[in-house]
């Protein structure tokens, strides 16, 4: 008997996530909550104190101070806002774009599919960061532009998998059976096709989030993303590079924050990929 593709047509087994995944989810939630409540916590990331430059970690400044005497702990908490916000928004936008266009291309096929697929191919022929650099410098490096540019760069990831899934499912016998039952095409898409893409989008969406976050951090590190004096993890690491020899804390703490978020996202993403049986070469 032929096997239906396990990547998403079969319902996921309802298993409880393993301990590491739960820990990761909780940690991620904690970081997000802390970061976005930064305005409420009464910490000032901009306050300079030139008497207190480059102080090592101490009770008053748990993460030390930077070159301008600003409290790094405060800046680390505030500094999570751009990467997390951009990461999440860009991923969400890219998922929606990829889903919509993927459904269109996979379902209509023919010319629509050719055009959209070629578009995706051409899009993928320019490495993302490179294109982002260019666009940001021409149009300015605002948060909105960052989100747009990263979303534009990553929609193809979702497009490909949705398109492939739609093309598989639309030929499966149960879709044909639905047609024979007189169910309209729109209903078929909503009832059968769309739900089958949700699992795989969960996987690509999480991967996209990680990638988007990384790209925002890298762009800010290069000086093309978020601009000073706004606190941003990537930018802070770049600022800290010059002080690395004598004030390691300036670069380390924002870096550790980045690693923490990336690790949590990766653990969750891996678990989702495992649950829905997606392989690595289908992700990128």
């Amino acid at each position: 008997m032929s096997a239906v593709s396990t990547s998403s047509a079969a319902p996921a087994r309802r298993r409880l996530p393993p301990l590491t995944v739960t820990v990761a989810l909780v940690a991620l939630a904690a970081i997000v909550v802390t970061t976005f409540s930064a305005p409420l916590l009464g910490l000032d990331p901009y306050k300079q104190d030139l008497m207190a430059m480059l102080l090592p970690p101490s009770p008053q400044h748990p993460f030390g101070t930077d070159l301008l005497g600003r409290d790094i702990a405060a800046r680390v908490i505030w500094g999570g806002i751009p990467p997390l916000f951009v990461g999440f928004s860009a991923a969400a936008a890219a998922v929606l774009m990829g889903l919509g266009l993927g459904l269109l291309a996979g379902y209509r096929q023919g010319l629509t599919d050719s055009v959209l697929s070629r578009l995706a191919d051409i899009q993928m022929s320019i490495p993302g960061l490179v294109l982002a650099l260019l666009i940001l410098v021409l149009f300015g490096a605002s948060i909105t532009n960052l989100i747009i540019v990263i979303a534009l760069e990553s929609w193809t990831m979702h497009f490909r998998v949705v398109r492939s899934q739609v093309m598989t499912v639309r030929n499966l016998a149960f879709v044909e059976a639905a047609r024979l039952a007189g169910i309209g095409e729109e209903s078929i898409v909503l009832r059968h096709i769309l739900p089958s893409t949700i699992p795989i989008l969960a996987v690509t969406g999480t991967a996209n989030f990680s990638q988007a976050l990384l790209m925002e951090a890298a762009l800010s590190f290069l000086g093309i993303g978020v601009q000073p004096p706004t606190a941003d993890w990537g930018m802070m690491v770049s600022e800290g590079q010059a002080q690395l020899a004598n004030a390691w804390w300036v670069a380390m703490f924002p870096g550790i924050a980045l690693v923490a978020v990336m690790w949590c996202a990766q653990v969750v993403g891996d678990w989702l990929a495992d649950v829905y049986s997606v392989r690595g070469d289908e992700l990128q």
């Binding site: 016998a173 639905a178 024979l180």
Partner: protein
């Protein structure tokens, strides 16, 4: 002289779900030059047994046996190196799917050389000559060209010949063939089996033929052992075992196969239910839940394999008294001969000179399908109360014709008529009537049901467009389930929780939802185990009698067609080569291809069984 001598073989596999016992005490002897069949349905343990003989068990498997002698070597507890010696010198294996059995990235020639003994591949020239020799021995024409090809460039039959050549490259004494023809077309199957017979005669090979198909085994092996739930339950000369089956399961297997000698007057017997899962089996006979002969002792003691003098073979059944088993009439068994209902002279559907060519040239992708028409100038008609069969091999176009009749494909030329009106020109009301009166049952039940939907929801879907009241729909679904022999409890199950037979019943229930006049069924039973096939075919006949429906049955199996259909159309490469009343066509086939199909079909089965 004995080549293989196994007694009391037990295999245990450790999995996450616990310890599975796929083999629970198998004893088997094969003499040099003998052909033995190992028969059973999916999950009975025959493949694992054959793998054990070749030493190809997975690492998680542990093996115990009272005796385990392969080719004069005691292999009980043997290490990997000894097994490699055995595989190198005495045992060759061929597998079910030849396309998967060959390494896709290597040339045929390279893989063939890898299989040779060191002395045969000392130099490039020597290995080349030996390769040619091997390929010619398995009947491959133009071997030089084949050596330079990749597996995906070969057809199934050709690939299987290569696999056989590889297995024989080192001159083994035993050839293990695990379902060697299941993945192949009927006409190719015969060729491969003939080849194995020929090689056996030429080389004095012993052969272990592992298969679920009694028909294959009947004509080719001296002795046959039938396996069920990890044990051999009957064992002896092929003719004895089939003609005088002493175990209910064997009798059911024999009786369940619709062969072309099995006319519409002879009932099919099936076995409801499933073989038990091989974890934590309860005491007693494994067949008991499904057996109509079981008595109190069957629940307590697992029957041992005993020799019965009267039938000259071995069987494991408490109720065995040496008589041939007469299967009782199953409850609700319906004689399949259908009284012709009042003929409505107007045909329900007609196909007129229809052709279908597949192929789209996609401007930017440059992909081009072959321009050979899948269907070429086909005409047929089906009226009320009739059952028409369309038979042919894969690629004959029969499925395409069926799909065109329900509108899943559109013909390139020609016309399809529903109630004398062209389907291409039907108004929405007409389309609705067409959909109501003509329904489709798909071949593969595992992809014809949405794996996320419950059974009830899938069946309900047929009613969504016409019945707005949820309560009414629910009741109707319950009625349909009962009609196809399923219980209410199954309504909330998902497809992966059902067996293949149950899923197919759901597919039939779904097709019945709007009381169609005509059901078109594409290979309705080919994906099912033999014992389950019979139950579905009986269901189809029952429905036909009770509802007066017509059928168009697509199948590659002449036996199925003969059992259900009054008329038959034979298709080959997209064209109709013969048509007429089933009895007529089978008795006096006109076209060569029909003769070939009939030849390749297993016969004599029922003849012997009812002798």
């Amino acid at each position: 002289m004995s080549f293989l001598d196994i007694a009391g073989l037990q295999i245990e596999i450790h999995s996450r779900a616990g310890a599975v016992h796929p083999v629970r005490g198998v004893s088997l002897q094969i003499d040099c030059g003998e052909a033995v069949g190992l028969v059973g349905e999916s999950g009975c343990g025959k493949t694992i047994t054959s793998m054990a003989i070749a030493g190809l068990l997975p690492q998680a498997a542990t093996l115990r046996a009272d005796r385990f002698i392969v080719g004069n070597l005691d292999m009980h507890g043997a290490d990997a190196a000894s097994w490699r010696e055995v595989r190198r010198n005495s045992v060759g294996v061929i597998f079910q799917n030849p396309m998967k059995a060959l390494n896709p990235r290597m040339l045929i020639g390279t893989q063939l050389v890898e299989a040779m003994l060191p002395q045969d591949r000392k130099s490039l020239r020597a290995s080349y000559l030996k390769s040619m020799e091997l390929l010619e021995a398995v009947g491959i024409t133009n071997p030089a060209a084949r050596l330079r090809q990749y597996p995906h460039e070969l057809s199934g039959g050709l690939a299987q010949r290569v696999v056989i050549a590889m297995a024989l490259a080192r001159g083994p004494k035993l050839l293990i063939a695990d379902e060697p023809t299941t993945a192949l077309d009927a006409s190719v199957q015969k060729q491969i089996l003939d080849l194995i017979d020929k090689l056996r005669a030429e080389l004095g090979l012993a052969v272990l033929m592992v298969t679920h198909d009694l028909g294959v085994v009947r004509e080719r092996v001296d002795r046959v052992a039938v396996m069920y739930a990890g044990r051999i339950i009957e064992n002896g000369n092929t003719a004895d075992v089939i003609r005088k089956s002493s175990h209910p399961y064997t009798a059911a297997l024999v009786a369940a196969m619709p062969s072309i000698d099995h006319g519409p007057d002879m009932p099919l017997q099936g076995l409801e239910g499933l073989p038990p899962p091989l974890i934590d089996l309860p005491a007693g006979c494994a067949l008991r839940p499904r057996c109509s002969f079981s008595s109190e002792i069957c629940a307590r003691i697992d029957p041992p394999l005993e020799y019965i003098a009267r039938t000259n073979h071995w069987a494991a059944c408490h109720n065995n008294r040496g008589d041939r088993i007469e299967l009782p009439a199953t409850a609700g068994q319906i004689l399949p001969s259908v009284t012709r209902l009042e003929r409505d002279p107007e045909p329900i559907m007609q196909v007129r000179a229809v052709s279908k060519v597949f192929g789209e040239r996609n401007l930017l992708n440059f992909r081009q399908h072959n321009k050979i028409p899948a269907v070429s100038d086909v005409s047929l008609s089906i009226s009320d109360g009739e059952a028409l069969g369309i038979v042919g091999e894969s690629g004959s176009g029969k499925t395409t014709v069926a799909r065109m009749m329900v509108g899943l494909e559109t013909p390139t030329t020609g016309d399809i008529l529903f109630r004398d009106r062209s389907v291409a020109m039907l108004a929405p009301a007409g389309v609705d009537q067409w959909r109501r009166e003509v329904q489709f049952v798909f071949q593969d039940s595992s992809s014809s049901l949405n794996p996320r939907f419950s059974v009830a929801r899938s069946i309900e879907e047929s009613l969504l467009a016409v019945e707005p009241d949820e309560e009414v729909r629910r009741k109707r679904v319950g009625q349909l389930l009962a009609e196809v022999g399923l219980t209410e409890a199954m309504a909330s199950r998902r497809p992966d929780q059902l067996s293949g037979g149950q899923r197919q019943r759901v597919g039939i229930a779904r097709a019945l939802a709007r009381n169609p006049r005509l059901i078109i069924a594409d290979e309705p039973v080919s994906a099912l185990d033999v014992s389950v096939q019979a139950t579905i075919l009986n269901l189809l006949n029952k429905l036909r009698r009770e509802r007066g429906m017509s059928y168009v049955i697509i199948s590659h199996d002449l036996g199925v067609i003969r059992y259900i259909c009054d008329r038959v159309i034979v298709m080959h490469r997209g064209k109709i080569v013969e048509s007429g009343y089933t009895e007529e066509v089978l008795k006096n086939p006109g076209h060569d291809y029909t003769k070939k199909l009939i030849d390749a079909a297993p016969r004599h089965l029922k003849e012997l069984a009812y002798a």
